[in-house]
C-alpha cells in the first residue's frame, strides 16, 4: 500500500510539473517551443522509482526479496528469438515469484517485457507485451492473484545491453520483474 501511495504521489507530482511546464512555455516562448517531461521521480534511472518502492515493500514483507540466495533474486527471464514461451530453465524462477506473491497478497509486481532491436519498433512493442503477459499468466497459474501483477512493454526501447550481436540480443529478449 505504501508503494501505491508513493507511486500515486509521483504521478501527481509529474503531472503537476508537466502542467506547470507547458503553461510556462506557452507564455514565454510562442515561436518554437520545446516541452520537457520532468522526471523527478525516476531520478534519471529506469525503474528507479519502482526499485525504491521495492525496498520499502520488502522491508515490510520480511526481506526474502533482498536475500541474494533466494530464487527470488532472479528477476530477469530470458526468451528465445521471436518467442514468448517461458523456457524450462526459468520455471523455478517463475514458481518462486508466484509463491512469494501468493504469500504476500499486498505485494505488487510489474512485469516489464522487452524485445531485441531487430525488426520494426512497434511490432517489437507488441512482442514485448506478449512476453510480459506470458509471465503474468504463469504467475497467476501458480497462485499469484491477477491484481498483484502489472504489465508494461518497452519493446526494444530499453535494451539491457547495447551490442548488435546474438549475444546481446539474448540478453535483451527478456521480461523483468520489478517489485
Amino acid at each position: 500500500m505504501k508503494g501505491r501511495i508513493l507511486k500515486l504521489l509521483l504521478v501527481i507530482t509529474a503531472s503537476l510539473m508537466l502542467a506547470a511546464c507547458s503553461s510556462h512555455k506557452t507564455k514565454s516562448d510562442s515561436a518554437q517551443n520545446g516541452a520537457r517531461v520532468e522526471d523527478r521521480g525516476a531520478a534519471g534511472a529506469n525503474g528507479a522509482a519502482s526499485q525504491g518502492l521495492a525496498d520499502d515493500g520488502s522491508a515490510g514483507a520480511g526481506g526474502a526479496l533482498n536475500d541474494p540466495n533466494s530464487p527470488l533474486a532472479v528477476r530477469v527471464i530470458y526468451f528465445d528469438y521471436d518467442s514468448a514461451n517461458i523456457r524450462a530453465d526459468f520455471n523455478d524462477t517463475v514458481a518462486a515469484h508466484a509463491a512469494y506473491l501468493a504469500a504476500n497478497p499486498n505485494t505488487v509486481v510489474t512485469v516489464e517485457g522487452h524485445a531485441d532491436e531487430r525488426g520494426s519498433r512497434e511490432y517489437n512493442l507488441a512482442l514485448g507485451e506478449r512476453r510480459s503477459l506470458a509471465v503474468r499468466k504463469q504467475l497467476v497459474l501458480l497462485g499469484a492473484s491477477a491484481g498483484q501483477i502489472k504489465t508494461v512493454s518497452y519493446g526494444e526501447e530499453r535494451p539491457a545491453v547495447d551490442g548488435h550481436d546474438e549475444g546481446s540480443y539474448e540478453k535483451n529478449r527478456r521480461a523483468e520483474l520489478v517489485y
Binding site: A14, N46, R121, Y123
Partner: protein, 442 residues
C-alpha cells in the same frame, strides 16, 4: 535560447540582443545538429552549375548557392559542379559566356544575387538558364529575411527540381525524429526533434528520460502525434509544434501506440491492447471516441491510412510471422498484401500517390527497406545494411528516409525510390532514429 543556427551569426546577434531584453530565456539543452554526408555518386545524375550568388550590401552569411547545390545533390538526381571548377561566376544573364559552359557539358546554369532591401530584409534574385538554347527557363525575385534565407534557397531548389524533372520538389520540408543519448542501460535522454529536411535548424519539441517513439505528422504539418512512456506505460500524445502545447490523448492498460493521422486530419489510427491483445482502433479527434477495427488473437499494429482515406494498411502476424494486411478504413475482413516475400514484412508506409508501400523486410541479409508496387506486386529491396527500419516517404514520393545502423550507432539515411543513394545524417552525440518526413509547407 535554442534557435541559434551555426550558419547565421547575424541571427545569433539578434538573439543575444533579445536575450538581454527578455528576462527569462528557457534553459533548454543545446541542440544536437544533424550532420549529413553523401556516399557514392550517381552516374546518371544531371549536371548542373549553381554559381555562387552575388551579394549587394550586407546580406548575411547564408551561402544560398551552396544550400541549393546541397539540396540538388542530396536528391540523387543531380550532380552539381563545384564552384572551383566553374569557368566564371556570372550573376546576370548578360554576363554569361554560353560557350564556356557548353564546352564543359553544363547544360543547366543557376545564378543570382542577394540584395539588402533597406528594411532589414533581403531580396533574392535568381535565374535558371538553359545553356544549350541560351535562354532563361525561370527568373524570380523573392523577398525574404535573415531567418528565412535557407528556406528561400530550398524553395529555389524546389523550382529547379520541378522545372527539370516535372515533379514537385520536397526540399522546403521538415523531418521529425527521435534522438537518444544513453549514459547507461538505465539512464537515457530521449528527444523528439523537428529539423529542416537537410538536417539544419533542429528544435527539440520534447525531452524525456523515458522512451519516446513513433512520431507522426498531422497532414497540415502543425502537429505531431507520438508515443511517450513518461507515465511508465505507453501513451499517445498530440503536440502543437509551434506552441509546444501538448495533450495526452489515448492511454490506459496495455499498449497505447503507433499513432498515424487520417488524410483529412480528423482521426488517428492507433494500436491498443486494452482488450488483451494489440488491435487496431481509430480515434476521432472531434468526438474523442475510439472505434475498434480488428478482432484477432494475433498482433495487429503499425496501421496507416491510404492517401484517399479509404483503406488501412497494417502489420499482423495472424499468418505466423509479421506481414502487411489491408482492410477498409471502417474495418472488415483484412486481406494479406505481402506474399512470397519472405517471412518478415512489417511497418508499411504508403507513397503519396498510394501506389507503393515501403516496408521493413527481414531476410538473409538482415532487415532492409523494400518497396512493393501494389498494382504489379513487384518488390525491390532498396537498402543494403543489416538493421534498417522506419521508412518514411518524402511528400513528393521521390525519396525514402529511414534509420540505419552505422559504426557509432543509428543514423538516418535517404534513398530515392529508384534506388539512388541519398545523404546520411548523424547526430554528434547519441543515436537518431524513427525519421518521419513532414508534409509540404504552405
Amino acid at each position: 535560447m535554442k534557435t541559434i543556427r551555426k550558419f547565421a551569426p547575424l541571427r545569433r546577434l539578434l538573439l543575444a540582443a533579445l536575450a538581454l531584453m527578455v528576462a527569462a530565456p528557457l534553459a533548454l539543452a543545446q541542440e544536437a545538429e544533424l550532420k549529413f554526408t553523401i556516399k557514392g555518386g550517381n552516374k546518371s545524375a544531371l549536371p548542373i552549375a549553381v554559381v555562387p550568388f552575388a551579394s549587394v550590401g550586407d546580406t548575411g552569411n547564408t551561402d544560398i548557392a551552396a544550400v541549393i547545390r546541397s539540396d540538388l545533390e542530396r536528391s540523387g538526381q543531380f550532380n552539381p559542379m563545384q564552384p572551383g571548377d566553374m569557368p566564371s561566376q556570372p550573376s546576370s544573364f548578360t554576363a554569361v559566356n554560353f560557350k564556356d559552359w557548353r564546352v564543359l557539358g553544363q547544360e543547366n546554369l543557376v545564378l543570382g544575387k542577394v540584395m539588402a532591401s533597406g528594411d532589414g530584409g533581403y531580396v533574392v534574385e535568381f535565374r535558371f538558364i538553359d545553356v544549350f538554347n541560351g535562354n532563361q527557363l525561370l527568373g524570380f525575385r523573392i523577398p525574404t529575411s535573415a531567418d528565412n534565407m535557407r528556406l528561400t534557397a530550398h524553395h529555389i531548389s524546389d523550382l529547379i527540381y520541378e522545372t527539370l524533372l516535372h515533379r514537385k520538389g520536397a526540399f522546403a520540408t521538415r523531418i521529425a525524429y527521435v534522438t537518444v543519448e544513453r549514459a547507461s542501460a538505465k539512464d537515457s535522454l530521449y528527444r523528439l526533434q523537428v529539423a529542416d529536411a537537410d538536417g539544419y535548424d533542429p528544435h527539440t519539441i520534447l525531452e524525456s528520460k523515458q522512451p519516446l517513439m513513433s512520431p507522426s505528422w498531422s497532414p497540415d504539418g502543425a502537429h505531431l502525434a507520438y508515443v511517450s512512456f513518461e507515465d511508465r506505460n505507453s501513451a499517445i500524445y498530440l503536440q502543437d509544434i509551434r506552441t509546444g502545447k501538448r495533450e495526452k490523448l489515448v492511454y490506459g492498460p496495455g499498449i497505447n501506440s503507433a499513432p498515424s493521422f487520417s488524410p483529412d486530419g480528423q482521426r488517428l489510427v492507433v494500436t491498443l491492447s486494452r482488450d488483451g491483445n494489440p488491435e487496431i482502433y481509430t480515434y476521432s479527434l472531434a468526438s474523442r471516441q475510439l472505434t475498434r477495427l480488428t478482432y484477432h488473437a494475433s498482433i495487429d499494429t503499425e496501421a496507416i491510412y491510404s492517401p484517399d482515406g479509404r483503406q488501412i494498411y497494417f502489420t499482423s502476424d495472424r499468418g505466423g510471422g509479421p506481414q502487411i494486411y489491408r482492410m477498409s478504413s471502417d474495418g472488415g475482413t483484412p486481406q494479406r498484401v505481402t506474399f512470397n516475400m519472405g517471412n518478415y514484412n512489417s511497418r508499411a508506409r504508403i507513397s503519396p500517390d498510394g501506389k507503393k508501400i515501403a516496408i521493413v523486410h527481414g531476410g538473409k541479409g538482415g532487415y532492409r527497406i523494400g518497396v512493393l508496387d501494389l498494382a504489379s506486386n513487384s518488390f525491390d529491396v532498396l537498402s543494403d545494411s543489416a538493421l534498417d527500419e522506419s521508412p518514411s516517404f518524402a511528400p513528393n514520393g521521390d525519396m525514402i528516409i529511414y534509420a540505419t545502423m552505422a559504426g557509432r550507432g543509428t543514423e538516418l539515411a535517404a534513398i530515392s525510390v529508384d534506388g539512388r543513394q541519398g545523404p546520411r545524417m548523424a547526430v554528434q552525440r547519441g543515436q537518431v532514429r524513427e525519421p518521419a518526413w513532414g508534409p509540404f509547407r504552405n
